[in-house]
């Protein structure tokens, strides 16, 4: 057997003599990929040159024997552009001190003030390990870490699931804890303190932190041969520094609703109006109930989900989402996606504060704490290659429509744009492969 090609040929000939020409064709076999990768490149862009985000994510999964699984996810994120500061539009141009406290930026008359000094790069790493524990139990534990120039997050979670009823029912319970450190540019402002001139940092503290505890109880139930349901209840308790250190409120005249003007100290640049840094409570408890269903109508698969969230800040929200994955040919699919979201405003949401009135303990003009609804429409296309890999592309349009109740508006504010609609395009390209 010096010539191994000779060996294969001899064997093939001998087999053919034994079996006749009964082989179906050359063998096609391979080992299961040890690693499977799921990667995505994301581009997010808001209209009017507001926030733009480019991010890359690599998810890697390694399956070991006995159903043990290692999951790693790495994300890199670059954010640029401007976002609403919370101050209201005015008939006059407005000047603000930038978060660093070292420069100013201006907003033309009639426009919603945007803080355009945003530039952030974020790296996040998550790792989790899942394995069976006894016959019907599965345990999973994970660690997460992320870093930005002004923010560091460290989190850990653990969950346990048990199967019942021929594995048609799975009950799970999980716990997650995270500790985040916030070190804003120029320091964390004292809540409700006034925005000061350039160079005056007397209202800024160095840094702060918050911690979040999450409890998740889940039930997964197979309803029929082609329908599966999941219901989750979750409770989340945040405490510590929950402000957005870059958000402010305009102080306005109680009759006209115009921003109170201010003159910077001689020789220094500074804000031209009175603006206070926001103040949120130092704790927040959220409850949410989430249900999702997947149903296969033959080859197409429908996904539907609903989430109700309520918290002790007075925010209630409803989220509904449907997706329909529709196969096209043997190897491709299209998936239209639709999402609707609505929330009520936080108890302490104020578009502006009135000069001379008693200062509330908590106040924020952050639009994300106001009342709005949002719609996302999207389409995903996926294609499986002959090698078993998949690439996919997703295009989505997201729009928020805010509304401020009339009793929160004063005088001239009615005539101005108060709640600029947010419009964003999301484009995502993904590739899944194994090694």
């Amino acid at each position: 057997m010096n010539d191994d090609n000779n060996l294969s040929a001899t064997l093939a000939a001998a087999t053919c003599a034994l079996l006749g020409a009964s082989a179906a064709g050359p063998v096609m076999a391979g080992e299961t990929d040890r690693w499977s990768f799921d990667t995505a490149l994301l581009y997010y862009a808001e209209s009017d040159d507001r926030v733009q985000d480019v991010s890359a994510t690599i998810g890697a999964q390694r399956a070991f024997e006995d159903d043990r699984l290692l999951n790693l996810t790495l994300t890199a994120d670059t954010l640029t552009g401007a976002s609403a500061s919370g101050a209201i539009a005015s008939d006059l141009p407005q000047t603000f001190t930038s978060p660093s406290g070292r420069a100013v930026y201006s907003t033309p008359a009639g426009e919603t003030p945007l803080d355009d000094t945003f530039l952030d790069t974020r790296f996040a790493l998550n790792a989790s390990w899942t394995q069976p524990l006894a016959r019907l139990y599965t345990v999973s534990a994970g660690l997460g870490f992320s870093t930005e120039y002004d923010y560091t997050h460290l989190g850990a979670n653990v969950s346990l699931a048990r199967d019942f009823n021929k594995r048609n029912t799975t009950v799970s319970a999980g716990l997650a804890y995270s500790q985040d450190d916030i070190d804003p540019v120029g320091g964390a402002p004292v809540p409700l303190s006034q925005m000061l001139d350039v160079g005056d940092g007397s209202n800024k503290l160095s840094s702060d932190s918050k911690d979040v505890l999450d409890v998740l109880l889940g039930l997964t139930q197979v309803l029929s041969r082609n329908t599966v349901l999941r219901v989750n209840y979750s409770y989340s308790q945040s405490s510590g520094y929950l402000n957005d250190p870059y958000k402010i409120l305009s102080v306005v005249d109680g009759t006209t609703g115009d921003t109170i003007l201010r003159t910077p100290a001689p020789g220094v640049a500074g804000p031209t109006g009175i603006y206070l840094y926001e103040s949120r409570p130092d704790s927040r408890a959220k409850h949410s109930l989430y249900a999702e269903v997947k149903h296969a109508f033959g080859a197409p698969v429908l996904y539907g989900s609903y989430r109700f969230m309520t918290d002790d800040w007075g925010i209630d929200s409803h989220t509904g989402e449907v997706r329909l994955r529709w196969p096209v040919g043997d190897a491709s699919y299209v998936e239209p996606q639709l999402r609707y979201y609505m929330q009520s405003q936080a108890d302490f949401y104020h578009p502006s504060l009135v000069q001379g009135a008693a200062l509330p303990a908590y106040a924020s003009a952050d639009f994300r704490l106001g009342e709005f609804d949002a719609v996302t429409v999207g389409l995903k296309f996926g294609h499986r290659t002959s090698g078993g890999n998949e690439w996919n592309a997703r295009l989505e349009y997201y729009q928020q429509n805010g509304s401020i109740s009339r009793d929160q508006l004063i005088g001239n504010q009615f005539a101005r744009e108060q709640y600029p609609d947010l419009k964003a395009v999301i484009a995502q390209f993904g590739y899944r492969f194994g090694l």
Partner: protein, 70 residues
């Protein structure tokens, strides 16, 4: 109260025992797209975007976050 909720949980599980499929009827459920976590990266990206633009987060899994964006 505790005993009552425990009882409710037991009853719910009893109820669940009457629905479901036999192991050999899992052909459709075994399709990758029928997995409830079929697209973890999409889900993570969505969670991240909505976390930074809305007041709600999580529900499907743990609350998301770990980001200075909200």
């Amino acid at each position: 109260m505790k005993a009552l909720s425990l009882l409710a949980a037991c009853l719910a599980l009893q109820g669940c025992a009457s629905v479901g499929v036999e192991p050999w009827q899992r052909d459709v459920l075994a399709r990758p797209e029928m997995s409830l976590d079929a697209n973890p990266i999409d889900a993570a990206i969505d969670d991240h975007i909505y976390f930074s633009k809305e007041a709600s987060s999580g529900g499907r899994g743990f609350g998301g976050g770990g980001c200075g964006c909200n």
